[in-house]
Assembly symmetry: C2
Homo-oligomer: 258 residues x 2
């Protein structure tokens, strides 16, 4: 098989999902006529492949999971939505009159977020954006974006970059997934293999694929609350609360120390 070229997988997928949801613009068709579902394909480095409909990235508040609503109630002050995607939650905060910036590394996602009405967007990494002079009171990492911590080697740098962007008393509100509730042998074996390699059990090695594009392989972290607390040691952030009402999903609230 030809190796798929590296590109803006997430953005191309979100553009198509937006075209399907709105009925506006070109979208994938079977045989030039029949709309195809827009499916996110996620490969893991053990050969596991999963597909999931992409439409939830565009979900209106009535379609959200309960913890998304609880997360928004925890926002205060100036909000940076990290990995804003199609702007799902940032647009709702904006609608409520809050000051919110949507940051993403995907040009296609930022394009869709702007077309949906999100006014303040940043196409950048957190690390590069941390050189800016703007400061925030809340950092929102929803849609499982606690995973952006990647693992023990990346987490301190990301958390330091967020601290550089933080006003005193700032919070991170992040949604994570505890991967250890499973008895599925495929996942149990993967966690074990990771630990044998000195990684956290849920330190996933993934790439996304959509149509002819792929991302590079990247780490994405599913961790327990205990593992998160360990990752925060030596960083400017302290774990203040865990809301695990929607297990295996949880909301972690972290506050700037001192």
């Amino acid at each position: 098989m030809e190796q798929p070229p590296i590109g803006d997988v997430f953005g191309e997928m979100i553009r198509d999902a937006y075209a399907v949801r709105t009925g506006v613009g070109p979208r994938p068709l079977a045989g030039g006529r029949v709309p195809r579902p827009v499916i996110e394909v996620i490969e893991r480095d053990d050969g596991l492949i999963n597909g999931a409909p992409a439409d939830h990235y565009l979900g209106e508040p009535a379609e959200w999971q309960p913890h998304d609503h609880r997360a928004l109630r925890l926002c205060r002050g100036h909000v940076l939505d990290v990995g804003t995607g199609a702007g799902r939650t940032a647009i709702e905060l904006q609608r409520r009159g809050m000051a919110v910036t949507g940051l993403d590394t995907s040009p296609g996602a930022i394009d869709v977020a702007r077309r949906r009405g999100l006014r303040d967007t940043v196409l950048n990494t957190v690390d590069a954006f941390a050189g800016a002079s703007v400061r925030y009171d809340t950092f929102l990492l929803l849609g499982n974006n606690l995973g952006l911590l990647e693992g023990p080697s990346r987490a301190p740098a990301l958390l330091a970059a967020l601290a550089r962007l933080a006003n005193p008393g700032a919070r991170i509100i992040a949604q994570g997934t505890d991967p250890y509730g499973t008895t599925d042998p495929v996942h149990v074996a993967y966690h074990q293999r990771n630990r044998e390699r000195g990684r956290l059990g849920g330190q996933l090695r993934l790439r996304l694929r959509y149509r002819r594009l792929a991302t590079e392989w990247f780490d994405y972290l599913n961790c327990s609350a205990e593992e998160l607390e360990m990752l925060l040691q030596g960083t400017p952030w302290r774990l203040k609360a865990i809301d695990d009402e929607d297990r295996p999903y949880y909301l972690a609230v972290m506050e700037l120390a001192g």
Copy 2:
């Protein structure tokens, strides 16, 4: 990435889709708790990847596409449903009192078809089953299974095997897809590349993946009615009718010559 092991991709997927639809038996969960959608992942040899929800393989008649209903009205006598899958159409023919055999090469699919009530099943290839002494009046290739003709080198052998299983006057009712209505540059380039390699434009080279399993790479044919007529030359079968009311999908009716 580890290469995924070869296995009964379709069967494992159908078992999971059946567990999700019925609520009975183990099914894939996120974090051990939240049901995951069952998605069929199809890779093409140009790196294209597509996902599609698998639930349609279990669709009740009210959920079918219109051409499926028209296909069943064309059945007569003893019916062999080739690539019966979860038995979607064979079970409906059986319910109508017709004599129908469901054939598939997937043990998992045959298992689900039997659990759903299909009485007469064959776990075999058409070629090996053609040594049996049973004879049929109708061969049904629905769910795009005209694609099983693969291309010019495979089609004569499959058509000869069906002829060995045929009573005089037998018919093939096959659903195909005309791939040439598209203007999508990804598909137009693929058709062109195929032709440059001496293949039919829509002679797809595919593999299926589901969770940790993959199939071998195989050919699967999307062809126009004109190409089908060409493939039938020199075989015992003649094209009698094309119903292309649901373009790009069509039903082809073929009859045994002489």
